[in-house]
Symmetry: none
Subunit: 420 residues, 2 copies
């Protein structure tokens, strides 16, 4: 049984958005062991959507549609599918009630145009959308063809896929073998360097080991195919052990771990607290830390000292040092870390000051130069500072993101060192 991914939306044909939904579904199908051979993108046009369905039913048994479930007149996916199979649409009162309730929660009233989203083919089941207004359908319009529709909004689609589609496919016998995978996550090592270190693992066939890199983070994905998830996990375990041994401290976690959640666990274990002082990241480090539910147990807050007056006034950075060494310097990074630690009375103070660009760089202090300061309860109580040169090739967002991640990684290594 073969699946096919069909993404509907003129915005995809105009290049307005990147088709991340295809990639998500492709990964998911692979991990469920459901083969798929084709992906199609088509605009919001009934005739062309029907042509695509005609082709798809001739070669695939599971048709996964994304997009075109919205309330506006150009959202045509469900009515076109129904029309293709010659089944009338009916309005489902339970969908109307659900949409009304969601609008009410946000203090709004449902628009008449949202009624359209309650129309589904007579013989189809609802694929519930917990986080948005547009539900999907699960439908077997003819023998050997199953249709599922999802909204184009990635967050809604992911949730609907995980909560309803995956159990449906698993219970329906779609998943031929079980593929389990585990992703090891690394910080502080380049993809090519890691790939060389683990070269011999990259030729394995079951489990397979594949390297990935994005946003400065490197990952190794171990995937095993077996009759059961228990058997697959048994294949993965020894490989994971060996890879961890080779990578050492550069491996910071697995799967859904983030640098923030890893740092959070270490702080919780140590019963310690953290405050941040941010200049060029402007709050991004705090936002990463507080992205972890429960972070209030160890993260007390911080000071965004974008302007030098805030560095002086709230972080007690020495004005003479600011004048002599500049805001982007070892001296100021250390004083920011020590200052926020003292001000918020935490175990650790972590600071970032740098030049995110595009302007503001000089020969001596180019765009991409960043200092990370760390003050903590170590002997001597002295703050440390670390210099990084991230370059200016990839722009402001890249430098800011790398700065926050690197700051978290510095603290992570320190906490592991203190623990050992």
């Amino acid at each position: 049984m073969v699946a096919e991914i069909i993404c509907v939306g003129t915005e995809l044909l105009l290049g307005d958005i990147l088709n991340s939904n295809s990639q998500f579904l492709a990964k998911e199908l692979a991990s469920l062991g459901i083969p798929h051979y084709y992906q199609t993108v088509v605009g919001d046009n009934p005739d062309r959507i029907k042509q695509v369905i005609e082709i798809a039913v001739g070669r695939s048994q599971l048709l996964l549609f994304t997009g075109g479930l919205g309330p506006t007149p150009d959202d045509l996916t469900v009515e076109t599918i129904a029309d293709f199979f010659g089944v009338p649409l009916i309005e489902k009162p339970e969908i109307i009630a659900d949409i009304e309730q969601k609008f009410a929660q946000r203090g709004r009233t449902m628009s008449p145009s949202n009624r359209k989203q309650a129309l589904i083919p007579e013989t189809a089941d609802i694929l519930p959308n917990r986080s948005g207004s547009a539900p999907g359908i699960i439908w077997q319009p003819v023998p050997n063809v199953t249709v599922m529709t999802f909204p184009g909004v990635p967050a809604e689609m992911h949730l609907m896929w995980q909560e309803t589609a995956v159990p449906y496919l698993q219970n329906g016998g779609w998943c031929s073998a079980t593929i389990c995978s585990r992703t090891l996550k690394f910080w502080g090592i380049a993809e090519s360097a890691l790939a060389e270190k683990v070269e011999s693992f990259l030729n394995l066939t079951n489990p397979t080991v594949a390297p990935y890199a994005n946003h400065g983070e490197v990952k190794l994905r171990i995937s095993a195919r077996a009759d059961s998830s228990v058997a697959a996990k048994k294949l993965i375990e020894p490989i994971e052990q060996q890879l961890r041994q080779i990578a050492g401290l550069d491996c910071y976690g697995v799967d859904t771990d983030t640098l923030s959640s890893t740092v959070g666990k270490l702080l919780l274990e140590a019963g310690q607290t953290l405050a941040v002082a941010e200049s060029c990241t402007g709050g991004g480090l705090g936002a990463m830390l507080t992205g972890v539910p429960g972070s209030s147990s160890y993260f007390l807050g911080g000071i965004i000292s974008y302007d030098d007056r805030v560095k002086e006034g709230l972080l007690a950075v020495n004005p003479q040092d600011l004048a002599e060494f500049g805001a982007v310097s070892h001296q100021v990074a250390k004083q920011m870390a020590a200052g926020v630690r003292a001000r918020l009375n935490t175990s650790w103070g972590l600071s970032i000051t740098g030049i995110a660009g595009p302007g503001g760089g000089t020969d001596a202090k180019p765009v991409g130069l960043v200092y990370i300061g760390l003050a903590g309860p170590g002997p001597g109580d002295e703050a440390e500072s670390f210099e990084y040169r991230f370059g200016d090739g990839r722009g402001r967002d890249w430098i800011r993101n790398l700065s926050s991640c690197t700051a978290l990684d510095r603290l992570r290594r320190k906490l592991l060192f203190v623990k050992a």
Copy 2:
């Protein structure tokens, strides 16, 4: 004359990579005024590639292939296309010479496997690849069908497209018209409500008006087709005027504008400064504001008061009010805004306090309840506060992002009001 994009590569079917090539080509085709209605992804499998070609030649005249031009055995695109049209491949000595030279430049010797890349259909032209080893082809195998192949590596593909394909298409009379578009951006109105307000515009044919929504933001894209970009812009202008008039203050900007950049412009115009006090967003509002280059001219910094002790100690929030009304309340939001404004000595103080979840909600104060405080130089100098209920359906990140954007929008409306 219609184009079609065909991306070849099993890595796309496995979800290992995001299909950015489709988006690139889609945008380029739109800007050249060459319509395209379908995009297909297919694996490195000759039979399935042939099926895709069969379908494509039946509905499109320009077939753009990416991927499968490499030296390894699974790179099959060119030989499969040649086989489909029944034309033999021949080895082009000039390609061999070019590849050998590129290897020599990097101090390497050409592998025997690279000879494969010099094989192209007898009657095809070379589409040169200046930055990589694999050249493409430009080929008219039968009347009314033109085939172009590009490597899957985005940087190589982009260069080949710009340097050779675009001039070829322009000189060959493919570019019927120029398409220009302009995107109006909205905050504070639902997609369905906006679509109803501008309903009559959604049926226009030139320019077209199409609504989009993501991350709580709504957009209207106006696209015009004309002989020149000047003429296209003339078609867009009156429609934009009318849409802006209908939407009023809900329209905050166009194209690359963000809520942060719009707020920044208003603050610069007014010669005013801003500081933020963040609880549940943990720095995300500051990160948004400082995402704009040059934001240091009006954004001085802020206080991340994640813990109540920081609200009391640094923002002078009254401990009794914290105890009586709770941290998530009108009272505390106002005091946070006024506190950070006083502490950082800015024109405006903007605060956020809320329950981002997943835990911490109660019946009276559910997850998604957020207060936004605003203190400024208005008459009476009193801080204001606004209550929002974002619901718990879409999770912590969604609530935090919506909170930051909504805070920016509140300040934007206030600045416009003060100005008027």
